[in-house]
Amino acid sequence: MRDNIYFALFAVIAPFSLVAIGGAPSIFAPLQHETVDVHQWLTGREFVEMFAVAKFAPGPGAMVSTLIGYKVAGWLGAAVATLALFLPSSILCMAVSRVWDQHRGKPWHKAVEEGLAPVAAGLVFAGILAIFRMAEAGPLSWAVAVLVAAILTWRSKVHPFLLLGVGTVIFVAAALVRMI
């Protein structure tokens, strides 16, 4: 009967893979409803904690799914839940990318690529605003982001971990100054 829990995990989570349009934030509310209210695999408090963990740890925010799987059925459950969330959408994306690549070199392909680039730039800027809004970021966050972007413009070969370290040092220093 142990097999059933893995199947249940996959069956509950996989559909969310294909409805997450515009990224993971769009599925958090329904995912919480399914796993907390309907299946009672975890409490609401645990879900919120998992959300915080996924934000803290590296990787996409959708790794919440991995933790739900782990809570329900250990490491294997984590693997099943991760695949359930990322595999269906990835297969679809593989198909789309493949078709896209097959038409490379045609004039319309070049025009679509050319036309999508400024839209993407707008979406990237919008994403920055969304992240900062969600984190209720203050002027210090903006200052660090601009500083990092400026460093990259000036020295594009700087290792990203060094830049992440710069952000950490500035924030910890600011927190220490506030404490004094």
């Binding site: 803290f56 991760t82 990322f86 990318s97 070199g105 680039a117 984190a135 903006w142 500083l147 830049l163």
Partner: protein, 185 residues
């Protein structure tokens, strides 16, 4: 189908995306992918990457995994996409569970919230650079600059849903980039 600009081994793809996965904090991942794939390794051009990022947001699923699949597919087809996805998720998979197990301890460490905020802010800086690169490429053409501004305001400032906005902006922008049959002058 045109060959990708460079030949990259599947192991290289896996390892590169392992690094990207390990460094992807606070939602600032597309900036990191752009820096590694376009600027450092030069596997893709700016335009290919930006088009991939736009496509990744139209296709359902997490934007980041979609962008990885797009890059991997471009470099080495389906095996490349599989390696990119596997690489991206491998480190976060283990790290997220370990952080969960140690969460009571981690969340009690003083200054930890500052560390998280600092890393996230720096990660956003990588994205900011990507946005600037994308916008710079438009100069001095007026239409693409307007497209970037309107898309940003609609999705970012006004919080309009992404799909309808793209359904309007993408065709407009593509039409403006369409090759003219009768060359001017």
């Amino acid at each position: 189908m045109n060959a990708p600009p460079v030949t990259v081994s599947l192991v290289q793809i896996f390892l590169t995306f392992c690094g990207i996965g390990a460094g992807s904090f606070g939602g600032g991942i597309s900036g990191l992918i752009h820096r590694e794939i376009v600027h450092k390794k030069k596997w893709l051009s700016d335009h290919e990457m930006l088009a991939g990022i736009a496509l990744s947001q139209i296709v359902p699923g997490a934007n980041v995994t979609n962008t990885c699949v797009f890059v991997g597919q471009r470099l080495r087809g389906v095996p490349g996409a599989t390696m990119a996805l596997g690489g991206l998720l491998s480190v976060p998979f283990v790290a997220t569970v370990l952080v969960y197990l140690a969460w009571d301890w981690i969340s009690s460490v003083p200054l930890m919230p500052s560390v998280v905020d600092g890393v996230a802010a720096a990660a956003v800086g990588l994205n900011l650079r990507l946005g600037v690169v994308g916008a710079q490429r438009s100069f001095p053409k007026i239409v693409p600059i307007l497209v970037t501004i309107v898309t940003f305001v609609a999705v970012g400032v006004l919080n309009w849903p992404i799909i309808p906005v793209m359904a309007v902006m993408a065709p407009l922008s593509i039409a403006a980039a369409w090759p003219r049959k009768s060359a001017h002058a």
